[in-house]
Symmetry: C2
Subunit: 384 residues, 2 copies
């Protein structure tokens, strides 16, 4: 079983709730409207001013009307439905008529009705955006689900986005999201021909696949979770092409490992890269820049800086556009690295994220500039 929660809200005149007679009338009017839809009043709680009325409906439904102290009022009706039932339930149909009746009988100008929250269905349609907006997806099929030793891996199909990779309940990439890979690459702006490239993470294979089209000298990818790669190799082929079919190609190698020891080995070997891609976790959404995710991010950044060739660039995804404070904290972190850094921010609406995403390009300030600080368009030079 699942449930649909149907909601309305509206404002009553303050006088309606401060005057006991008018308040009683409003209660009776609302209950008489709901009773026409077999929602029977079971209890009234006076909150003075305001009231809460609980209703039991037919077929084990329930409802609540809550009128707050300033006259703001909510109606919430809930109905158990079969897991397959997507819409057009009794309560959501009733809500349309109830809305009209309340509007007419209470002589209101406006009632807001919300689409029913479809809860408890066989596929969870609600994934959190970085800025805490409630968005409902259109997933129609679980293509793959598994738990690796690192994370929960899901690939769900959506008519809008094709197959979509979800790691620990976070949107990663879908077949609709070439814009994501092109934006992190600064496709058409950065020149990858003949370049040495390192990808940290990138298990969906999207970056590797798109970079290999640019005739690089060599791409090294370090991904810890081979279950992610295997799932994407099978179910996200329009994203990764055939590049995950084998771990080594003419001009690329995938190292299945934790990136830290490999990066340290590369540093010892004095290996450098023209481009390093940070395709690991996003900027953590926290109130302060503390905790294991921030430590991880700082460690990645420090090791990356040691691996960048003199004109090398570090490209990484940031977070959602509206998660402004995490971006500010990240940029503050960039100010406190072992070498002075410059960065550029850019953003793109990523279809399957239902959100606009921010990306960073970061590089070391050339020595002759490192005593000053300038702002130049979207490029900021940070000196300490």
């Amino acid at each position: 079983m699942a449930a649909h929660t149907t909601m309305l809200d509206f404002h009553l005149e303050t006088s309606v709730i401060t005057d006991p007679i008018q308040a009683k009338n409003a209660q009776q009017l609302l209950s008489s409207i709901l009773s026409e839809w077999k929602f029977n009043q079971v209890m009234v709680i006076e909150t003075q001013p305001g009231f809460i009325i609980f209703y039991q409906g037919a077929n084990a439904t329930h409802g609540v009307i809550h009128v707050y102290s300033d006259g703001y009022a909510t109606v919430t009706l809930e109905e158990g439905v079969s897991c397959k039932q997507a819409s057009g339930t009794v309560v959501s149909e009733a809500a349309k008529v109830i809305q009209k009746m309340i509007l007419d009988k209470l002589k209101l100008k406006r009632i807001k009705s919300y689409l029913p929250m479809k809860r408890g269905g066989p596929i969870d349609q609600f994934i959190t955006t970085s800025d805490n907006r409630l968005v409902e997806y259109d997933f129609d099929k679980v293509i793959y689900e598994g738990d690796s030793q690192y994370q929960n891996i899901k690939i769900l199909h959506s008519p809008s986005f094709g197959n979509m990779l979800i790691l620990d309940e976070l949107q990663n990439i879908a077949e609709s999201d070439l814009i994501y890979t092109h934006t992190i690459m600064r496709h058409g702006i950065n020149d990858y021909r003949g370049k040495e490239i390192l990808i940290l993470g990138g298990g969906d294979g999207g970056l590797l696949h798109e970079l290999l089209k640019e005739n690089p000298k060599f791409v090294t990818m370090i991904e810890i979770d081979d279950m992610v790669m295997e799932a994407c190799r099978k179910h996200l082929r329009s994203v990764c092409g055939d590049c995950l079919d084998k771990l080594k190609g003419d001009n690329y190698e995938i190292i299945v490992a934790d990136c830290f020891p490999v990066m340290k080995k590369f540093i010892e070997e004095n290996k450098t890269f023209d481009y390093v891609f940070g395709d690991l976790t996003d900027i953590p959404i926290t109130d302060s820049p503390h905790g294991e995710f921030w430590d991880f991010m700082r460690d990645v950044l420090e090791l990356t800086l040691k691996l960048l060739a003199p004109n090398g660039k570090y490209l990484t995804h940031g977070t959602g556009l509206n998660s402004v404070h995490p971006q500010e904290m990240y940029e503050e972190e960039l100010r406190h690295r072992s070498v002075p850094l410059e960065f550029r921010k850019f953003s793109a609406h990523v279809p399957s994220f239902l959100e606009t995403w921010v990306f960073y390009e970061i590089w070391q300030v050339p020595p002759q500039l490192s005593n000053g600080s300038v702002e130049n368009g979207d490029k900021r030079i940070l000196s300490r």
Copy 2:
């Protein structure tokens, strides 16, 4: 005042609700958890099997736990908040702990928690998608609101999408949506150089602005609502450029009128167009192809067919990708026109719609082909 409605759901073992003793224990356990957060049980309704418990919370909050007959259970907690309060309310914070406590004490594997529904705020963040998904926008400012004699016109600002035009509560276009205009134009595929073009509707000016970049011979636009044009001229300049600043230019004219009499006049004058754009209402989302919107759509189509030059094309937006039945009904309509038609469908994710949108390119079957019916890729020839 506004409200946040916070929801959880989970599944209890069927035995827990069919055995009266276990059911009573579960009730007591759930109420003891909620009471720690000052939600006091005010009433239990036994629905056998299953139960509904109503709670009154501190500060005029309320809650309901509903356990359905198969053990599916919902928790819904509501809290009045000030209109400006966006998140981090007492109840939504409590919900995180309540979630964990229920998980532990009832020994469950999984509880789904939903982001709170933010109801009744100063700007309505919920606009319906064509496929009835609940999506929350990030509007932060009302730029313009007015009622013309035809419709309610709103321009809201969103950090993600820039300024966004909303007509009668439906998403029209935002500054993020060049892809919309380019897709309806088949930008880069159709050649508009030296062509005669007619736009029906198009009051946001986006189509006119983009078409004028393609060196057409002349673009005629017929838009009924000059209040829409005035609002877009002021607040959507990145969409319409300066093309709405005057009604006539070297190679365009905007006729402020109902399109029907103008189209009929053009037909009488034997005027034809290489491209006609239908930028009026979308395909109606209804169960059957009846009612005034379908009549309107059929009338527009018939007049358009009379205005198309021999190789002319009619380009129009359809509806959301998942609104399959309305598309089928529309295509059935195309099969019953006065002349045999071919069409091609294409789609694009439109950022501000938070939805993938379907577009049509429609043209008359050349006479030598009109006795057959073929399917060729995405192009369908419809003969009667």
